[in-house]
């Protein structure tokens, strides 16, 4: 899923201070699971902001709403009839959600309430780690199911590099060397022969370096 982290409340206060009527808009998917922008976080942030501005003697209307998703037209349409009641929307969805909401409601300022971090997994309670960089042409079949692009600091395709030591990466002693993990797993799977195959030069045009990307599926279009 998409992992996000909460923006500091001081930063949010600065961003919203000039708007009198504010809608805090949560998202029920990724950001709910990573506890950054779901209904609960919307409630807590709204309550904190209300208290802050009351205390400052400022008159503000701060409302809460959480949509099923903010990256889909149909759910975003649910706020069409109330959007005029607000001077700004503070979206707690990922950057995709914030932008899609902004595109749909062109005349309403949209502010991000979270920092969108990466595509990752919920490794343990309260800890999320990166697993994929959406390169657009997955090589996991050859690398023992471990991604050298997101988990190797240098994105080495035929690793490890010379900085791998005792299973750790040279950039950080706590960080596993992705290529050590790959070799260990290939060995456990009895597939070390895969390691001997030199990876061809990767086509990075499917990655961000090829510019903004698009997936078109005519087979499902109606």
């Amino acid at each position: 899923m998409i992992i996000a982290s909460k923006k500091p409340i001081e930063e949010i206060i600065q961003e919203v201070k000039d708007y009198k009527r504010l809608l805090i808009l949560g998202c029920n998917e990724c950001v709910t699971v990573c506890e950054a922008g779901g209904k609960k976080e919307v409630e807590v942030l709204a309550s904190a902001l209300r208290m802050h501005f009351i205390k400052e003697g400022e008159e503000k209307k701060i409302d809460e709403r959480t949509l099923e998703r903010q990256c889909d037209h149909e759910y975003l349409e649910e706020i069409r009839d109330v959007v005029d009641q607000y001077d700004a929307i503070l979206s707690l969805a990922c950057g995709v959600g914030v932008q899609f909401t902004a595109e749909k409601y062109h005349s309403t300022p949209l502010l991000p309430g979270v920092n969108t971090c990466f595509l990752g997994a919920n490794e343990q309670r309260g800890m999320w780690t990166e697993r994929c960089q959406a390169c657009g042409s997955c090589v996991l079949a050859r690398t023992g199911g471990i991604c050298p692009i997101s988990r190797c600091a240098k994105r080495v395709m035929n690793g490890p590099c010379g900085g791998s030591g005792r299973g750790k990466c040279e950039i950080n002693k706590e960080l596993d060397c992705a290529w050590q993990l790959i070799i260990d797993r290939l060995r456990d799977l009895g597939r070390l022969d895969d390691y001997e195959i030199v990876a061809p030069i990767k086509d990075w045009s499917t990655e961000r370096s090829g510019g903004p990307r698009k997936v078109v599926r005519e087979d499902v279009q109606v």
Binding site: K40, V44, A48, H52, E56, G57
Partner: protein
């Protein structure tokens, strides 16, 4: 056992302190409470294993938020005691009452009251 406690706090019962969430604490302040304290079982004695640890974390989170918005993080506190410790319960309430009196009223409540008066 008849114990003297301050009469100005309201007890809200929970099945386990693990049920408490940050929003419950914040709402109490939004509604004008001057302080909130959570009393859980002794650490290690939770019937649901980690309820009181969760509560402690949430009290800490609420405290941080209250600090950042200028209401004051010291207005919330977590205590632990076992069910047989009535006198300690009374003592904690006296302690909390004293601390909140020192801190003065919740500024959110004061601002709301001032606004009402002006209207």
């Amino acid at each position: 056992m008849r114990l003297k406690c301050p009469a100005n706090f309201r007890i809200i019962r929970l099945p386990c302190t693990g049920k408490i969430d940050v929003i419950h604490i914040l709402r109490a302040f939004e509604k004008g409470a001057d302080g909130v304290y959570v009393v859980g079982c002794m650490e290690g004695d939770c019937h649901f294993k980690s309820g009181n640890f969760r509560a402690r974390k949430r009290v800490e989170q609420a405290s941080k938020i209250l600090d950042k918005i200028g209401v004051g993080g010291e207005r919330v506190k977590m205590y632990n005691l076992s069910s047989g410790e009535g006198p300690l319960f009374a003592q904690y309430s006296i302690e909390m009452d004293k601390k909140i009196r020192e801190l003065g009223p919740n500024p959110v409540k004061t601002a709301l009251q001032a606004k009402k008066k002006a209207a």
